[in-house]
């Protein structure tokens, strides 16, 4: 897959529009998924994704063949999406209110993983939670959602997240912790597997 990407990049650099179109088609859904995870609005994510590809084309000559094209394009997508969030944040402040208190109750440790099981096969519950995922993500504050999506979709390390978001490493870890806690509580609640009241055991 990576080899085909590099071949397509090479042809696109030479001015082959079909090669670039093929690159777009190969990566469009995952790019859109990353954008949606960050900006949470479907139409905005569509625009962000297209803008990311236009920027990719504009900077194609700067792409280094030894790195992954997929990683590169996701980095650009995340940058575009975060820029959009930063521009829109003042007018969307009311959208990022904290999750309601009852939802913030931590699900009993292990309840999510137990319910989903270790079987990698897609279960009904897994499909149900995936379908509610964007709804749950939409309830997170921007800063929590962004760090969680970049971590889980792009696989960024703590250091990379700190650099990308211009925040200290400790803040990355703190935001990830809170984002996960809220998401697990919400997803467990959606699935009817919440067991509130369980606290730390040690």
């Amino acid at each position: 897959m990576a080899l085909l990407d590099l071949e397509l990049v090479d042809r696109a650099r030479g001015g082959d529009p079909e090669a670039f179109r093929d690159l777009v088609v190969r990566h469009q859904r995952r790019v859109y998924a990353v954008a949606l995870g960050i900006v949470k609005d479907r139409d905005l994510a569509w625009d962000v994704s297209q803008d990311a590809f236009v920027r990719v084309h504009r900077h194609l000559s700067e792409f280094r063949d030894e790195s992954s094209f997929s990683t590169w394009i996701h980095r650009i997508t995340a940058r575009v999406a975060i820029d959009v969030l930063r521009k829109e944040r003042p007018s969307r402040r009311s959208d990022v209110a904290d999750v309601p208190e009852p939802v913030l109750q931590e699900a009993a440790p292990g309840v999510l993983s137990t319910a989903l099981g270790t079987d990698p096969q897609e279960t009904v519950l897994r499909r149900e939670l995936a379908a509610r995922l964007t709804e749950a993500l939409g309830q997170l504050p921007d800063v929590h959602r962004t760090v969680l999506v970049l971590r889980e979709m792009d696989g960024l390390s703590y250091e990379e997240l700190a650099e990308r978001l211009s925040i200290p490493r400790g803040t990355v870890m703190s935001r990830l912790f809170h984002a996960r806690k809220k998401m697990q509580a919400m997803l467990a609640g959606y699935a009817g597997i919440d067991a509130p009241g369980s606290g730390d055991r040690s």
Binding site: A33, L36, L133, M153
Partner: protein, 161 residues
Amino acid sequence: MKCAGAAPLLGSRPGELDPTEEAALSAHLSSCEACRARQADHEALARVVENGLLGEAARRDFSAFADGVMARIPAATWRGAPAPGLLGRVLELLRRHRVLATASALAPALAALALYLYIGRTSGTGPLEFSVEVTSEDLAPMVLDTSDGPIILVGEASDGT
């Protein structure tokens, strides 16, 4: 280490924590069933996040997406596109060779500076008047004394100026 201290470290990947944190977390996990369960929850959540967002993308109709991207890219960038006019070619040349554009802009200023320095160095009581010829093939200015007066060379002109 207690659960409150271990919780933010859960979900880390090998090598991401410093050795002290790594050792403390490892020791805590070996004795804390709740935090091992939380760790498992993190892994489950990671899969749900990825599957959920990719599933959302899979449900969307992307048939017009690539066309939308291609429409936003200037057609002139593709091979076989109609040749741009003279102005378009000049602008494209300047866009691609910003150093050249900067050098072109600086060349007259460098020539003027060289002339000023030369006159200042050779004059006794005041500026001398010369008939001068200026060329600007490149960046580095040089002044030649000739029987017709000084000639300023900007760059390495091989054909004599």
